[in-house]
Subunit: 240 residues, 6 copies
């Protein structure tokens, strides 16, 4: 099988991670995954959401907001700020990223602070939510080291990659063209330990068997090892 | 291990399905899963979303809207119509139900019609999204038989159940109390064929291994077989 | 004259009231008035609207929210939560129900609490606002007895019924078909004492004289006596 | 009994009607009822609401929008345009005015046009909705004569006045001070023929008997005769 | 050159200012500038915006809200309260008026109060923002004298006028017809001292040179002297 | 005088312009002005706003949307898409950019197309609106050359720069620190011909004389000449 962009089924696109891409936030990265680019930023605010207090929860909170520049896609998207609401896809993605990132950190050690993760897509070519998780985790690691020099609340890295079945073949790290005609689309969020944090597998056409699912998870693990290595490099460079 | 409500780990709560619960819609059910009750309705409208035309797609469409009565939960929830927007959880759930139901039907055979699935929770005790999928699939089967007596677009049943890890033990069909302290929470959407349509597994605390995941999928399959049987009975009764 | 559904002009449809229909709220009913069914719930929250404080009012508050399931009507209605605002009819109805229910209770005796009345129509066939008032009053009586075992703030029952002029004839308790071609439509809200709480009479076509109005009020009184009896039974059963 | 402003129980405040108060709309008035002033305007637009077409209704439509200048009340009100939605009271009032005005006109004769009635309160001292109806009816009469010189769709005048029970005494045309402590508040909308178009009576504290209601309707008729005379003068002056 | 309404290029339209036009607010005017009429009101509220506290600013605040009655224009405008948001033009204008008015007052001397300026256009014929500034400044002067009899926070008058280039000729105080075909449109906000507070010059077609700009500023100064005189008269009359 | 960052009063910050910064839109740039960075994109859509048709205008349209990444500022800003509306400052800026850019092009030659200008600030340090105009003009020049190889609708370059009075001294190209304590703040939008397109001068504290204004315009002209040179280089590079 020949993939759309000539890759082998188990081959990642070219990924890179630039640390400290923005001036103001305490941690930030620019992540590129093939044609996809996402600006990831971590900002700290000295208070927690009101529901934490009313539920008697101590410690801090981590939450994510996700957006796409209108010109990040082939046909210009409507600007969500102008249309007055975030679409369902946006809401779904930012909730996934937020949940995944909270697994990186010991919320108790954050103190009464909220860490805002902003993932803004400037070029979109498939895999923006996985890029967002992977880029934001690196930014969060940098931010935690800076904000908490004594007791680092950062527990372990988390990264994500998409896998899917395209024309009957399981493949790793789908680009937009592949994504839009995949039979099955799966996003795998994993901790550096090799255990799962979140798995979302969706049949876009038809159904998928348990053995197919296992093949996809193997591919994901293969790709994620490489992404963890890139994150570690980026964090080290960003803290120099 | 003793479960909160005395069940064995692999035991479903009491499920039941009442067909034709509402007067007006072409298909409807009231599904009960333990203390959870969801009114599911299917209505047909003779047009399709504008994006289908602009993307050159023929056939029909199936979409879902989900809501909870404010008094369906222990503490009264804010009414989403009054607060002026649907929350993130609502959006996420109705997208999941819509995707799952579309797998039940051959959209091409629907003609230029949209089938609206409305899932309204009147009592909530965990598992409302899985109840919604399972109840709506039965309502959709009834509706399709009535609307399309010649060429039934209904392909195969779909049902969903939650599984999770509570106090270290994999369990089936979590009630609210279990759900709120689960380490891992997974919703499994399956076709009657036994293959998957959607899997969403989330670590709420910590991470989970691939072997744990396999145990959870086994439990889900076990429960889903029983739910498919209930659906078949309900559909038969509803078409008499 | 033959009515649409064969009733005499002064005949109610079949009404019934199920107490404690929901699991969570302190008081709830399912009221059926012919083909109309409304779920009524009363929930208590330990605070009052901010304007009460700023206006120096002591005691508690009672407020109502009204909604219709999208599939409760012949043609599916748009979900108000999805369209982002409550329509004018909804606002008008929930204000009427709230005002009427506040007359049931001695707000001073509620303490610093708000009682939320939720009326959600699951099947609509005319008279939903009157059904809502009548069902919610029974739910409120149950709730008050439970919440305030010592000094019951519940003062007296309130019920409502619609009357109108259809094809020139004054009739009681209009179904949807009658309502949509009535010349005059009137909703009468009455206390158990026989005095009025609210009267809203509207000419839909033409105008109406004072003597016509008196005939309509006679019909309403006749129907309301029967509804008060049903409420009393329901409350008694609900408190067992 | 001495009323707040020294009037007899059956005495109107000082009412006046200035025709053609605005430059642009085809019909307009400034109505003063004691300390209340409302600018009423009628504008024509060459199309009808989409629902008329989809329901197969021919002819035109009349609709009303109501607003209050923020500084029209004792304590400044929030501007509804700034808070992003119209409040419940606004919605209720504009629906009442719209319904009442539609009774003035033969919609069939309007052709495929919508007449917008705008009622904007610049000074508020009770009775703004009744002032709005009365002022808008005069503006509508002027507009219809100008827009339809051949077949006047204007059928008959409509006017409205408030009545109520204050300190146990039925009184006509309540000012703000009376309105805010009234036991019963009733708005009576009447056609020039002396028959009713809409009656809305509300017990603000306690309940009211049928005989009390009859006393209130007598007062209203007494006041409305004087208002019809003012309207006729205003229309005549406005058409010169 | 003959102007649309026969004026000389350096001639103002007929301006007038009525003090105390409304009953409730502490300061108010009705300003007329040719066919444009704006109701200006100043209301005081005993608190300041939250951002002032969080930025550690002492003293008070002045802010403006601007609106147009739907029937104030030739073709009826949509009511912003009904469409659920203020348009861009409205936002731009109310920010300009608010900034200009703040220059009138010593915010420190206001105490912890917000003065709300409401400018509501009842007839529009060009120059509504300049009319609003000029009318509101007079209302503010009256309000400050009444609210602060001891230490007047009112520093100096501010007024505004439009100038522009129409058919190649610089003209003063454009009416709507001129405004809509002007090549350059400039709003000049000036303090009584003769210095500028805000200048906004916009090329609507083509560009403009520095010498053209100087001619426009000369015209504006000429008109503003007359407007300051009218303001002084109005304030004096309003305080009697 | 020593400026905050050591520049002379008439010295620009370091400006640079990267062409074709994004993958999808037909024209794009990344503009840096000192610490400010703005992504500018131009996208074409084959239709025009509805009001153009209803006003009988032929040709095309150019409009702008402006946004800031939440982490672009020192304290994280609220995401406008999440809060459900664009703030007043955003609206004001995007209207200014849109107006300025329309002066670059002969709208008649665009055909029935809308060009969307998106300016998204990724790092903010003062002067974002001027950076947006200058960067977007270069992107628009590139886009027009590509979209209209035959009859270029691009007429002439436009650029903008801020000037102001800080501590009594007129200075060019204010950074955030200077901007926040400036007495006068002025944005000058100029065509390559040296004539003005828009001038917005605002006294933030006190007032300013005409001679001060002339000094500011001299500074602006001096800076704009350099910016036009950078734009020409960027366009040339972007079209290679």
């Amino acid at each position: 099988m020949e993939r759309f962009d000539g890759r082998r089924p188990d081959e990642l696109r070219k990924w890179s991670l630039v640390p400290n891409f923005l001036s103001h936030p305490v941690g930030s990265t620019l992540i590129s995954c093939g044609g996809t680019r996402v600006v990831c930023a971590v900002s700290s605010e000295g208070r927690v959401p009101p529901w934490m207090k009313s539920q008697g929860k101590s410690g801090g909170w981590i939450t994510c907001e996700y957006g796409m520049l209108p010109a990040s896609t082939g046909d210009r998207m409507k600007r969500e700020a102008a249309s007055g609401k975030q679409g369902g896809r946006t809401v779904e993605i930012q909730r996934l990223i937020g949940r995944s990132l909270r697994m990186c950190a010991d919320l108790e050690k954050l103190g009464e602070n909220t860490l805002y993760i902003d993932c803004d897509v400037i070029d979109a070519d498939g895999g923006t939510r996985c890029g967002g998780i992977s880029g934001a985790a690196a930014a969060l690691a940098i931010a935690c080291k800076k904000l908490y020099p004594e007791v680092d609340p950062f527990k372990q890295l988390v990264a994500a990659v998409s896998v899917g079945i395209v024309d009957g073949v399981p493949v790793l790290d789908l680009c937009y063209e592949e994504d839009s005609r995949a039979e099955v689309d799966m996003n795998v969020v994993m901790a550096e330990s090799g255990e799962f944090i979140e798995i979302q597998g969706t049949a876009e056409h038809g159904t998928f068997s348990r053995s197919r699912m296992n093949e996809l998870l193997d591919l994901a693990e293969h790709g994620l090892k490489q992404i963890f290595a890139l994150q570690r490099e980026c964090i080290e460079a960003g803290l120099k």
